[in-house]
Amino acid sequence: MVEIGHFALVLAFALALVQSVLPLAGARSGNARMMATGGPVAITGFVMVALAFAVLTLSYARSDFSVVNVWENSHSLKPMLYKITGTWGNHEGSMLLWVLILTFFGALVALFGANLPATLRAGVISVQGWIGAAFLLFILATSNPFTRLTPAPIEGRDLNPVLQDIGLAIHPPLLYLGYVGFSVCFSFAVAALIDGRIDAAWARWVRPWTLAAWSFLTGGIAMGSYWAYYELGWGGFWFWDPVENASFMPWLAGTALLHSAIVMEKRSALKIWTLLLAILTFSLSLLGTFLVRSGVLTSVHAFATDPSRGIFILCILTIFIGGSLALFALRAPTLTAGGIFHPVSREGALVLNNLFLTTATATVLIGTLYPLVVEALSGDKISVGAPFFNLTFGPLMVPLLALVPFGPLLAWKRGDLLAVGQRLMAAFAGALLVVLVTALFVDGASVLAALGVGLAAWLVFGALTDLALKAGVGSVPVGTMLRRLAGLPLSVFGTTLAHLGLGLTTLGVVGVLSFESENILSMRPGDTAEIAGRALRFESIDPVKGPNYTEDRATFALLDEAGQPYASVVSAKRFYPVRQMPTTEAGIRTMGFSQLYISIGDQTADGALVVRIWWKPMVTLIWLGALVMMGGGAVSLFDRRLRVGAPARRRKAASGRPGEAAA
C-alpha cells in the first residue's frame, strides 16, 4: 500500500516532465494534438499526487512506523485528527502538500481553461509542469516522505506539541492554496511572454486565479496569526517574524497585482508592470518557501533542516526567478503601450496603490533579508524587529489606507477629485464624529488612538458610500434603489467587502494597540484580580491527564458586580513527555468583539501561580476583517464576466462537459 503511493509520486514526476515539454512544443509548432495532451496529463498528474498524498495520510492514520516520516512525526496515542494533520506537520509531508496544491491548480487550469486560446492554455499548463517537475524532483531527491524503515519501530517520536492543534488542519492548506495559487499567475505571465501576445483579454483571464489565490492567502495568513495568538501564549497577533513576513510579502505583492490587473483589463495599460508583478508575486512565494525550508531561519515552521535541501531550493529559486525575469527583459520592449490617463483618475489611484504596496513589500523584504545578509557577511547576529517595521511599514500604510475610499469613486481616464470629495463628505463627517467620540468618551484614549479609530471608520464608511452611490441612494426611490443594488455586478460587492474588511482589521489593530490592558500577578486559589473593570477569581488548579500529555489546568471564574461567578475560563500548561516539551493553552473568553486572555506561568515554591491577564478590546476584528476581505475575493470570483471568453462555437460544443457546467 505504502509503495503504491511511492510509485504514484514517481509516476507524477514522469508525467510532469511530459507536461513540461509536449504542450509547449505543440504551441510553438502549431500542433493541436500535442497541445491537447496538456489537459489530460495535468489532470492525471494531479490524480497521482493525490493518490500519493492519500496513501501517506493513511499511513499516518494507521500509525505505520515502517515509514520513516511517520515514525519521526507521529505517535500511536495521538488523537486521530492530529494523526491526519500531522501528515503535513513536517518538512516532507508539507512539501508533498505543496506539490499536491500545485498540481491541483494545474488540473483546474486544464478543467476550467476552455475559454483560453489554445496556445496560451498549453503554455500555462507547461509552465505549471516545469514548477511541478522541479519540486517533485526536490521531494524525490532530498525529502522523500516514503522512505522506509526496517525493522519498523513500535512507537513514533510524536509531533511537535505546538503543532498538535486544530490550527494545523486549516492554516497550512489555506496558506499553500494562496502561496501556490500565485503559481498560476506566474505561469500565465511566462506563457504570455513566450507567446508574445499580451493584451487586455489576458488580464481578464488571469484575474480569477489572482482572486482565488489572494483570497486563500488572506485567510491563511489570518488563520496563522490567530493560531500564534492563542497557542504561543504571549497574546501577540503579529510578530514580524521572518516566516510571517515570508507569507506577508506575496500577499502585499498579490494585492498590488490584483489592482494593477484591473487597469490592464479596462484600459490595456500597465501591461509591463502587471506582468512583472505576476512574476514577482510568485517569486516571493518561492523565496518564502526557500527561507522556511532551507534552515536559514529557525522557527517552529522550519522542522528538520538539512543544507542540501536549502541548496536545492536555492537552485530552483534561481532558475525560475532568473529565467522568468530574463524572458521578461527580452520581451518587455516589444509590448505596445496601452491607453493613456490623467494622474487624477481611477488608473492614477490604482498606480498610487501599487506604489505604496510595492514599497511596503520592499520594506518588509529588506527587514527580513538584512539580518541574514549581515550574518552571512560578518557573522554578526542582528535582529530587525518590530521597531523597524513600525517605523517604516506603519507610515507607508497610513496614507494608503486614507486614500482607499477615493479609488473606487474616481472615474476612469480623467477623474474629478472635488466631486469625489463631495460625495465622500458623509463618510468623512462620520469618521470625524467617531474620532471625537473616542477622544472624549473613551478613558485613556490618546489623540493618536482616536485618529486611528477614525481612520478605520473612514475605511468602513468609505466602502459603504461607494456601494450606496452605485445603488443610487438619495437620488432614486427606494424600490429602484434596491433593484439597482441587486443588479450591481458581483465585483462591486467584492470591492466593497474587501475595503470594508480592511477597515475592520484596522479597527482591530488600533483597538488592541491603543486600549489593551495587562495585569501580571501571582495568585493563589481564591484570590481575585481586576482587569479593565472586570473581576475574576482564581478557583483552582488541577492536574489532568490527556491522551499523550499531562496538564495543570487552572480555572478562573468571572465575577459579576455582586461577586457571583457567571462564567469560567480555563487556562492550562501542558507537558508532552515523548518530546519533553511544554506548551501553554491560553484561556480565552470572547465578549462581543473583545477578548479576555489568560495565560498561566510556573507555580512558585509557596504554591502561588504566576498569571498574566490581558483585556484585548476589539481584537477579533483583526481576523474577522480578514475573513470579510476573503469573502470579498470569493464574491468577486463569481462575477459572470470572469467566465467569458470562449468563442461561441466551442462553447456550444463543450456545453455537455462537466467542467464547463461547473465553470
Binding site: 508525467l15 511530459v18 496556445t119 524525490l140 493584451d199
Partner: protein, 380 residues
C-alpha cells in the same frame, strides 16, 4: 503481487493520458482563435449595462466604447493575418510524441527501481499488534503487553510476564515499575523480589544500592537459597570493597547450588575476579566504579552519590571522545544520561555516537533504537 498489478495499472493509465490526445484523429489545423474577441464583446455589453444603470457618464461611455472597438479591430486584424502555421514537418511531432509516451513508463520504473522498496509491505500498528505472537518481534510483544496493561492495569500476571522482558531489554526503570506492580497485585515472591532488586541495581548503573539490597534480603526471607539474591548480595559486598567476604559468600553459594543451575559460570567468574582483585588490590579496573568509589558511595547522601555518578559518567564521556569506536560504551553513556535525567546530554551523546559509529552502521542503528526505547526525543 498486488503491488505490481496496481503499479502496472497506474503506468498504463498515465501513458494513456499522453497517448489518447495524440492519437485522436482530425483537426490538426486549428481555426484562428477568437477568444479575445469574446472578451471584448462582453466588455462592450458590460459598458452598456453600466451606462444604462447610470454608473458611468454618457461621454465617458462613448470614449470607452471607441477604445474597446479599437481593440476588437486589432484582434480582428490579427486573426485575418495569421495564416495557420505550417506544421513543422511530419517527423518531428511524431518523434516527440513517441519519446513522450515512452518516457512515462521508462522514467517512472527507472526511478522507482532506484529508490523504492517494493517488497516491503505496509505495517499498520493495529495489524502488527493483532497478528500471531509467534511472528512478532520482541518490541511488538512488549508494545502489545503494554497496550493490554494500559487497559487493565490491575492484571498482576501481565506485569509479572513483562517485568523480566524489560529487564532483559535493559529498560530498568520500567522493569522496576513492572516488578513493583506485580508484587503489589499478586504478592511478593522470591523471584519477583530478586527481579526487583536486579532492576533497581540496573537502574543505578549496576550499583547494588540500599534499596536493591533490601529487595534481595526480602527474597532470601521467602526462599533462603534464591541464587540471584545471593549472588547480588555478594556483589554488594564486593562493591563495598569487602572482597574477601564477598568471595566467601560466593563460595558458599556455589557449594549450595544444584548441579544444573545456570548460576555456576557467573559465580565461578565472580570468584575468580575476586581472587585477582585480592591479589592486586592496588590496581583498580578501569571502566567500572572502583571499590573505593563504591564504598564511598554507600555512605554518601543521595546528592553526593548523584554527584559522584555524574563524575563517573563524565569520565566515560571523555573516554568516548578519545576512543569513539565503542558501541557498548555509547549505549552505557546514553543510558546513564537518561537515568540522570539529562535529556540534552543524552541527545548530544546519541548524535556523537551515531557520527562516530557511522550513520548507516548497524551499531548506530542499534543506538538509535535504544534511544527510542529509552524515550529519548527526536534529535533535530
Amino acid at each position: 503481487m498486488l503491488f505490481w498489478f496496481v503499479a502496472a495499472l497506474l503506468t498504463v493509465g498515465a501513458s494513456l493520458a499522453v497517448l489518447l490526445p495524440l492519437a485522436r484523429r482530425g483537426d490538426d489545423e486549428r481555426a484562428a482563435e477568437s477568444n479575445d474577441l469574446e472578451v471584448y464583446r462582453d466588455q462592450l455589453a458590460e459598458l452598456d449595462r453600466d451606462a444604462a444603470r447610470g454608473l458611468i457618464q454618457p461621454a465617458e461611455a462613448e470614449q470607452a466604447r471607441a477604445e474597446i472597438a479599437r481593440r476588437i479591430l486589432q484582434a480582428d486584424g490579427r486573426i485575418a493575418e495569421s495564416t495557420p502555421k505550417a506544421p513543422a514537418g511530419r517527423m518531428l511531432p511524431r518523434i516527440a510524441a513517441t519519446v513522450a509516451i515512452l518516457a512515462v513508463p521508462l522514467v517512472s520504473w527507472g526511478i522507482y527501481a532506484g529508490i523504492g522498496s517494493p517488497g516491503l509491505p505496509s505495517q499498520p500498528l493495529a495489524e502488527r499488534l493483532a497478528k500471531n505472537p509467534a511472528d512478532s518481534t520482541v518490541d511488538e510483544l512488549v508494545a502489545r503487553a503494554e497496550a493490554h496493561l494500559a487497559a487493565n492495569p490491575s492484571d498482576g500476571r501481565g506485569w509479572d510476564v513483562l517485568a523480566p522482558i524489560y529487564l532483559r531489554l535493559g529498560r530498568y526503570g520500567e522493569a522496576v515499575n513492572a516488578y513493583r506492580n506485580a508484587i503489589r497485585l499478586d504478592g511478593a515472591s522470591a523471584l519477583r523480589e530478586s527481579g526487583l532488586g536486579e532492576a533497581t541495581a540496573g537502574a543505578a548503573g549496576g550499583l547494588v544500592t540500599e534499596e536493591a539490597r533490601a529487595a534481595f534480603a526480602r527474597a532470601l526471607e521467602l526462599e533462603p537459597e534464591q541464587p540471584k539474591a545471593r549472588y547480588y548480595l555478594a556483589t554488594a559486598l564486593a562493591q563495598e570493597g569487602r572482597t574477601a567476604e564477598a568471595k566467601a559468600a560466593w563460595q558458599a553459594m556455589l557449594a549450595a547450588l544444584p548441579p544444573n543451575s545456570p548460576w555456576h559460570a557467573a559465580t565461578a567468574q565472580a570468584i575468580e575476579q575476586a581472587n585477582s582483585e585480592l591479589a592486586a588490590a592496588e590496581t583498580p579496573p578501569a571502566p567500572g566504579p572502583t571499590s573505593e568509589q563504591v564504598e564511598a558511595a554507600a555512605d554518601m547522601s543521595e546528592e553526593d552519590r548523584n554527584a559522584m555518578i555524574q563524575t563517573m559518567v563524565a569520565g566515560l564521556d571523555a573516554r568516548l571522545r578519545e576512543n569513539p569506536q565503542d558501541p557498548e560504551g555509547w549505549a552505557r553513556l546514553l543510558r546513564s544520561y537518561v537515568m540522570l535525567g539529562d535529556k540534552q546530554a543524552a541527545s548530544d551523546a546519541l548524535a556523537r555516537g551515531r557520527q562516530a559509529l557511522g550513520e548507516d552502521s548497524d551499531a548506530a542503528r542499534n543506538l538509535v533504537a535504544l534511544a527510542g526505547s529509552l524515550g529519548l526525543p527526536a534529535t533535530e
